[in-house]
């Protein structure tokens, strides 16, 4: 690595002056960085211009990560609790112990649990550690337990969006093709404003798009950071985005007749004939779904090359019953949502809804093509992006379906200008052909994601009788089920054949990021032994028995881009493939160790090394001669070395990546806009949800908690249903509380970073609770007043009122996950640093979307002066 001159540091003749390429992990974007180290001290983190994932520009969080590295409040030594009593605010009376003592204790506890029932071991992962998921997965497989959970996966993830992204795009999430898009419609999503995936690159995408003339419209109850920079802000009543989407679909299809018939015929099941019972009309012999060929008025199998013009609309007699094409079913469904009806629900005028539908439909330029690299492709420069905000509600799946169909109907999917799945298709590094993945045809001609080493949501998803703490088996459309607090608190009721014994925490802060805080605390208390790899003694670590000092991302190795969820960082807006290394920019300080190294040590002590390395080989699909030999011990760096060589050839080993940081090559048109090159269909009519529903219904018949499990939302077409907050009629609970994301904090994990705290103080909306100025004045609340926000469920939070005109009069907004209380986070836990939304939530199945395990994030509250 060539040393660059240190211009601004005055030391004469520094002994060491290095720029080290690595990868950020302050959020899940995993930007490529360069760390400047002078005489052992990290003095600057910058974006790595050589890495397309950042292109040399990173956000405030990555730039501020030095403060997380050197935060004096970090855990630096192994600790054990000496106070057996656990609870919120109960001092564990931490005592420093040696690594040996800590690992001896952990080994004994885990071994005992494994002997009892390995499934009694529960592992918690953090969304920020995505490039260790496969490693952690291998460890769990070796332990014999796939009981996993993700801190915040329920409320803070876009579980409905993820399901739709897999089903419709074959990828974990979607991005708009900013390079070509002319009309960006966002629902409760912060892309281009420092949130969402590839935060900094999306900023560039939106910025350059806007400079080019792209129109940005943001639908959000809050004039959010994304709405602020949009051309138009459409304020909406919280929890009603799905209704708006349905009304827009109605305008597009039934009023304007704007839909991409060619796309619907060739790439969706829009022409499949649906029987009155909601199922496909199938060919009696092959069982293939039928379509109606209008050219000769005959039914034919959907993939019959002889189909000249499959009917999208109408009603046709098939074997004695009248069947309608799926698209006609959709048209009929959305007819129930005329703009006038949607106006009453969403608070957006019918005229505005019609205008948005007209603008969006016009922008899609149905029928146009664009030539890229000599390939003529459909050009659909209109994108709809939505995430947590729009679908973080009780009926997440239905809302997500409605929103996703907006792009599907106009054909703006996986084609230039439209909505792109984040990397469903990768044809591999030219020298090795790896990594290789592409969507495959599944039942009824529908797409099945090709993502390696994962069990993505698809037409193949099957429910089973639950044996996991997550109850994932009943919600196979969820990528990250979160039933844990229910099962932990009531194991008898949920009939699990084991009781949790050991909690293996590798990151995250679930007490503050999942649901009702007191219930989460009680749930964590039920697990007899908790070992926590921690950066901080945060609110959840308070429940640990042993705390192990973890290495931050600046002190550890990881491979970025390989393994599970490969599209996570290297997303669709980047037109280059990028595989890169996270490497320590300084040796772990104090007695910190990276947990993967520790887990390998534990694997030795627990005699599970063979199983673990075999699982690792399988997870990463390592090929000879680089597959790990389970018969001998490997270090984490050896495993990385083998993985890199297995994918990119012997020349691109760990040493190569340490020096160069990143391996890139251009994405082909066939990769970025793969849909035009593959004959795969996606549903606009989710027929198999009916099967799913029947199966879940059958399974739940025998379950004592069957009344809690609602399958009502498993229907083939979207609808809008109100979430519990909309049913709250007590007049004093007159506002919807909701939470949103800001560019300078990641969930709750960055609040003790002194720089980010300082920067957050520049904008009063970050630490304050944003309330409509007129609403506030009617309650006698002035700017800066301390207020209580009391939930319809009983919990309440205190914060400083920030009065603004930029919020729906029925809303009160909270940025990220502030409101910490751990005494070991002195900056985060100062009063007035935001509020913890979870204090307002309730642990109740009424507040969970059963289909994708999304938690309801709009709660009716009353607000009064403190």
């Amino acid at each position: 690595m060539p040393a660059l001159p240190v211009a601004n540091y005055k030391q004469d003749f520094p002994r060491e002056d290095l720029w080290i390429p690595s990868a950020c992990s302050m959020c899940y974007s995993n930007c490529g960085i360069l760390a400047h180290r002078v005489n052992g001290t990290v003095i600057k983190i910058e974006g790595n211009p050589a890495n397309p994932v950042s292109a040399g520009r990173i956000c405030s969080k990555g730039l501020s990560s030095i403060m997380t590295l050197y935060d004096p409040n970090r855990v630096n030594y192994p600790l054990k609790r000496t106070n057996p009593e656990k609870g919120i605010g109960v001092d564990p009376k931490w005592q420093r112990i040696t690594w040996d003592e800590a690992l001896d204790t952990v080994t004994a506890k885990v071994r005992a649990a494994m002997e009892k029932d390995p499934r009694s071991i529960l592992t918690l992962v953090s969304a920020m550690d995505v490039w260790s998921f496969s490693f952690q997965g291998a460890f769990c497989v070796a332990l014999g337990s796939t009981n996993l959970w993700d801190s915040g996966g329920g409320p803070h993830c876009g579980n409905g969006e993820h399901a739709m992204a897999y089903i419709l795009h074959g990828a974990i999430h979607t991005q708009v093709d900013y390079e070509h898009c002319n009309y960006l419609l966002m629902f409760g999503c912060g892309s281009g404003a420092g949130a969402y995936y590839n935060a900094t690159l999306a900023i560039r995408g939106v910025s350059e798009g806007k400079a080019r003339g792209m129109r940005v419209v943001v639908v959000d109850p809050l004039l959010s950071p994304a709405a602020e920079r949009a051309d138009e802000w459409v304020p909406i009543r919280p929890g009603t985005d799905g209704c708006l989407a349905l009304a827009m679909l109605h305008c597009l299809i039934n009023e304007n007749g704007v839909y991409d018939a060619a796309h619907l015929r060739s790439h969706t099941n829009a022409a499949y004939l649906i029987r009155p019972d909601g199922r496909y009309a199938r060919h009696p012999g092959t069982g293939k779904p039928l379509v109606w060929d209008a050219s000769d008025a005959k039914t034919k199998p959907h993939d019959d090359p002889g189909v000249a013009q499959a009917a999208l609309l109408g009603s046709y007699e098939v074997a004695g019953t009248y069947c309608t094409p799926a698209f006609q079913c959709l048209a009929d469904r959305v007819k129930q949502y005329p703009p006038e009806a949607a106006e009453k629900v969403t608070g957006i005028s019918a005229a505005t809804i019609r205008r948005l539908a007209r603008e969006y439909g016009d922008a899609a330029r149905i029928g146009s093509t664009i030539t890229i690299d000599g390939q003529a492709l459909p050009y659909r420069p209109a994108g709809v992006l939505y995430f947590k905000g729009a679908q973080g509600h009780k009926h997440a799946l239905l809302t997500a379906m409605a929103l996703s169909l907006l792009t599907e109907v106009v054909g703006a999917v996986d084609t230039p200008g439209g909505l792109l799945g984040s990397n469903p298709r990768c044809l591999g590094f030219p020298e090795t052909g790896r990594p290789f993945q592409e969507p495959k045809p599944g039942p009824d001609g529908l797409l099945v994601p090709g993502e390696m080493a994962a069990a993505p949501v698809s037409v193949l998803s099957e429910p089973r009788k639950p044996e996991s703490l997550a109850l994932h088996e009943l919600a196979p459309l969820s990528i990250m089920a979160t039933g844990h607090p229910f099962t932990l608190l009531n194991p008898e009721k949920y009939q699990l054949p084991y009781k949790p014994e050991v909690h293996f925490v590798t990151g995250g802060n679930p007490v503050m990021t999942l649901t009702e805080v007191s219930a989460m605390a009680a749930a964590l208390k039920t697990i007899p032994f908790t070992v926590s790899f921690s950066l901080y003694l945060d609110e959840s670590t308070e429940f640990a028995d042993i705390v192990l000092p973890d290495a931050s991302f600046l002190e550890r190795y990881e491979v970025c881009g390989l393994g599970m969820w490969g599209g996570y960082a290297n997303s669709a807006i980047i037109k280059q493939w990028s595989y890169y290394l996270r490497q320590p920019v300084c040796a772990p300080l104090h007695e910190r160790k990276f947990r993967n190294d520790v887990m390998l040590e534990l694997a030795e002590r627990l005699d599970i090394r063979e199983a673990m390395l075999s699982a690792f080989n399988a997870m990463y699909q390592l090929r000879e001669p680089y597959a790990l030999d389970p018969g001998r011990r490997h270090t984490w760096t050896e495993m990385i070395d083998a993985t890199l060589k297995s994918y990119f050839g012997p020349d691109h080993d760990l040493e190569w990546f340490k020096e160069h940081g990143v391996l890139t090559w251009p994405k082909k048109v066939e990769e970025s806009y793969w849909k035009n090159f593959m004959h795969l269909k996606v549903p606009i009519y989710f027929e198999w949800f009916l099967d799913l529903k029947d199966k879940v219904e059958r399974i739940k018949e025998d379950l004592p908690y069957r009344d809690e499990v609602s399958t009502a939302d498993l229907q083939p077409l979207p609808d809008w249903r109100p979430c519990p907050g909309h049913a709250e009629k007590r007049p004093e609970f007159d506002l919807f509380a909701f939470y949103y994301r800001v560019p300078m904090q990641t969930f709750g994990s960055t609040y003790n970073n002194a720089w980010l705290d300082d920067i957050s103080g520049l904008d009063p909306s970050i630490h304050g609770l944003t309330i409509n100025a007129k609403t506030a004045r009617s309650k006698g609340i002035r700017d800066g007043d301390w207020i209580w926000v009391e939930s319809m469920y009983g919990g309440r939070v205190k914060g400083k009122a920030h009065l603004s005109q930029g919020i729906h009069p029925e809303g009160i907004a909270m940025a990220n996950n502030g409101g910490h209380w751990s005494r070991y986070l002195p900056i985060a836990s100062r009063q007035g640093k935001g509020a913890c939304f979870e204090q307002l939530m309730k642990l109740d199945w009424e507040c969970v979307d059963w289909t994708v395990h999304n938690w309801d994030l709009c709660v009716k509250v009353k607000v009064y002066k403190a």
């Binding site: 931490w94 103080g761 005494r823 002195p826």
Partner: protein
């Protein structure tokens, strides 16, 4: 092993502005740097110089010595105490070509030196030099504040005139009872001058506020603070009623030359508190022009 810290630091103790009001989404910030010590320095400087001129006119040495003491020790001390690096105070002399601070400090030096020499040797030329420098000391704070467009309320040609008049008024107000107490004699002329100065100050304040109110948005915001906002009670009570109108009444009601010594002391006290209050109010109402309003 680790200590728990209760609370971090208070927010931004050193940022330039402090939010004082909000109108139509724009937050107005007032300067927060020039506060107590600067008030002491600015007021005593003007007041002392005013007292010196009045005493000089009466050839009243104790008044001149008191005035020199105030300017040299109190003003000078407050200035040095205010500096971030007091040991570098001498550097303030380096830029008289552009900086009103340099000019003011040099004037102060000339004033104190010439004033002290005059008090000792009574050479008339020295007296005139001291008086000239005293006028500069009275006025320069106004020029310093009016110099930059950053605070539109201050960026006003009347401010130096106002400070000059106010300094003369407050200095004269003290000179009257002080002279009488020392010499037993009364100087009706001085009382007439004082009444004229009080009326003049009242008029200039009105003109100043009127002009500022109609000049720009931030200046209007500042005037609003003064006459309607947080500073209004102090402005109307201390500055206008007690500091100007009541002294005028005290001087005029008994008739010129008929005021008792005690009443005269009382009037001086009222004038001084009025002058301090006004300086304070103007410093506090130093509202910046928000960027991009």
């Amino acid at each position: 092993m680790r200590t728990a810290i209760a609370g971090g630091f208070e927010k931004t103790p050193i940022s330039p502005g402090r939010v004082v009001s909000e109108r139509a989404g724009t937050r107005f910030e007032a300067q927060s740097q020039w506060r107590f010590l600067i008030l002491v320095a600015f007021f005593t400087g003007g007041f002392g110089a005013g007292l010196y001129i009045a005493s000089w006119a009466l050839d009243f040495s104790p008044g001149m010595i008191l005035a020199l003491f105030m300017v040299a020790v109190i003003k000078g001390g407050a200035h040095i105490a205010y500096l971030g690096r007091p040991e570098r105070f001498w550097r303030a002399l380096k830029r008289p070509r552009t900086s009103w601070i340099s000019r003011g400090i040099i004037s102060m030096g000339v004033f104190v030196t010439a004033g002290a020499l005059y008090a000792t040797f009574k050479a008339p030329a020295l007296g005139w030099i001291a008086v000239g420098a005293a006028v500069m000391v009275m006025a320069y704070t106004g020029y310093l504040m009016a110099f930059s467009p950053s605070i539109p309320f201050w960026n006003n040609a009347l401010l130096p005139v106002l400070f000059l008049a106010y300094s003369a008024e407050s200095g004269t107000a003290l000179a009257i009872p002080l002279y009488t107490a020392f010499s037993g004699a009364r100087v009706e002329m001085l009382e007439i001058v004082e009444v004229i100065l009080l009326v003049l100050v009242t008029l200039i304040i009105f003109s100043y506020l009127y002009g500022a109110y109609h000049s720009s948005v931030p200046a209007r915001e500042a005037v609003d603070l003064l006459v309607r906002g947080r500073l209004a009670p102090g402005f109307f009570l201390s500055v206008l009623l007690l500091g100007l109108l009541l002294p005028i009444a005290l001087e005029l009601l008994p008739g010129i030359g008929a005021i008792s010594l005690n009443a005269s002391w009382f009037a001086a006290l009222l004038c001084i508190q009025g002058a301090i209050s006004f300086r304070w109010a103007v410093l506090r109402a130093g509202v910046y022009a928000p960027a991009g309003y």
